[in-house]
């Protein structure tokens, strides 16, 4: 359930934003992510941004996982 895709915020207008997914763009609602800023990534679902991606956490998570994999071998 709930197809979602991370999209980069390009432009903000009231409760809408233009977002970009690898060069395909769309105007989406931002009512659920009032703090979204330009250059943020948001998770897009059915025309609405549902959350802001925390890039720091993502990097951490990735680093941690890589380390875990490397340690394993």
């Amino acid at each position: 359930m709930c197809l979602g895709v991370p999209a980069k915020v390009i432009k903000i207008e009231d409760d809408h934003a233009l977002v970009d997914v690898m060069g395909s763009r769309m105007y989406v609602g931002t009512i659920f992510v009032p703090d979204a800023k330009i250059d943020d990534y948001v998770l897009l679902h059915a025309g609405q941004a549902m959350t802001i991606v925390d890039e720091e956490y993502a990097k951490e998570s990735m680093t941690e996982w890589r380390n875990l994999l490397d340690d394993r071998t």
Binding site: M1, C2, G4, V33, G47, V53, E56, Y57, M62, L69
Partner: protein, 368 residues
């Protein structure tokens, strides 16, 4: 976004897979059998199948698809009613594409459209509000299916219609909540599980905390996971680690999207417009408080109240979607699978939705 893209990196995926296989072997060594996990979310089912992870893990981790495809869990009578709803005069029925080919007892929405009903596929529920605005002489009805991720957007559509004072917009609500159905499954005890791969996008709205009942009340571990191969594998690995370390906990492996408390704006939207309802689930009958419907004060936007749709008892078929949803059988155990039932001529909803367990098996798991 460089960081998120890495979660689908092929090399990293293959490495991650090895880690999971290793951990699964350890589990098998320790327990004398493979671990059994349920992925709750239909998009997980689909991603596991499409990426080939499920096929690769076949003999190492038993992955059972859960009740997480909103199309599949909708009971037959409800589907018949939605199709019947399309038949009225001067109305436009709007729906997510997923619903179009779901077989009702006699008909699909696609067929109703072919027969001349005005049925439109939209990408967002808000598009149907716009359609109501542009077609004041028509009743515009949105088929409001969905889990926690989607429900706030349905509430938002009502808010928009309310703002614009639209008299011709309504939603046919048949939404589903994850917690009640998981409780029902676990209470029934028909499926023996070692842990859950938990739906990352539902958790965005409901928060990590909303899954704590699994560990606390059912002694069941779980990991909230994303949908890219590395995210799926990392989630599964962590779940295996919990089991190997005999820890019962709910881990958030999707921290960069999911907060402990979830999305408070969305939760408030739900509180403002909706209230709990005893939804009927395919194969499971009624589960108390397992869905959300419009509050009485928004009754004018409630298509169920606005339109008088009565349908008879659904036609009985040999389709075993109910059991598929509960995870008690695999598609191959249904005698119709890939024979009488294919994506082109589906018998049950599980064969229709690309997230449906049977469809995912048909499209991505069969080698023959």
């Amino acid at each position: 976004m460089i960081e998120l893209e890495r979660f689908s990196d092929p090399d990293l995926s293959r490495h991650s897979l090895e880690a999971v296989l290793e951990a699964a072997e350890k589990f098998k060594a320790a327990n004398g059998r493979s671990p059994v996990f349920m992925e709750v979310c239909g998009s997980h089912t689909m991603a596991l199948a499409k990426t080939g992870i499920k096929a690769r893990l076949k003999d190492h981790v038993r992955l059972i698809a859960g009740p997480g495809c909103p199309v599949c869990v909708t009971d037959q009578k409800s589907i018949d009613a939605m199709i019947a709803l399309s038949k009225g005069p001067d109305r436009i029925l709007c729906t997510f594409g997923d619903m179009m080919r779901v077989p009702g007892s006699k008909f699909t929405l696609m067929k109703a459209k072919t027969e001349g009903e005005d049925i439109r596929v939209v990408y967002s529920p808000l598009d149907s509000v716009k359609m109501a605005e542009e077609n004041p002489e028509k009743e515009v009805i949105f088929l409001g299916i969905g889990f926690e991720t989607t429900i706030p957007i349905l509430a938002l559509a009502i808010r928009e219609a309310e703002k614009k004072n639209l008299q011709n917009f309504s939603i046919w609500m048949t939404t589903k909540l994850v917690e009640p159905v998981l409780r029902t499954l676990l209470d029934a005890g028909e499926v023996k599980l070692d842990g859950f791969l938990l739906p990352g996008h539902v958790a965005i709205v409901s928060g990590k905390r909303s899954f704590d009942f699994l560990s606390k009340e059912y002694n069941m571990p779980g990991v909230i996971s994303g949908f890219e191969p590395v995210q799926l594998l990392s989630g599964m690995y962590k779940l295996l680690q919990l089991l190997l370390e005999k820890k019962v906990d709910i881990l958030n492996d999707y921290t960069y999207l999911v907060k402990d408390e979830g999305n408070l704006v969305a939760q408030k939207m739900l509180d403002d417009y909706l209230e709990p309802y005893d939804e009927v689930w395919r194969g499971m009958s009624t589960i108390p408080g397992s869905g959300l419907v419009l509050k009485e004060k928004y009754a004018s936007f409630d298509a169920k109240k606005k339109f008088n749709v009565s349908v008879g008892e659904p036609r009985k078929t040999k389709c075993r979607c109910g059991e598929i949803i509960k995870g008690t059988i695999t598609p191959e155990e249904c005698m119709l699978f890939a024979k009488g039932c294919t994506p082109t001529h589906p018998i049950g909803p599980c064969m229709v939705s690309t997230e449906g367990t049977c469809a995912a098996h048909y499209q991505y798991m069969r080698e023959d």
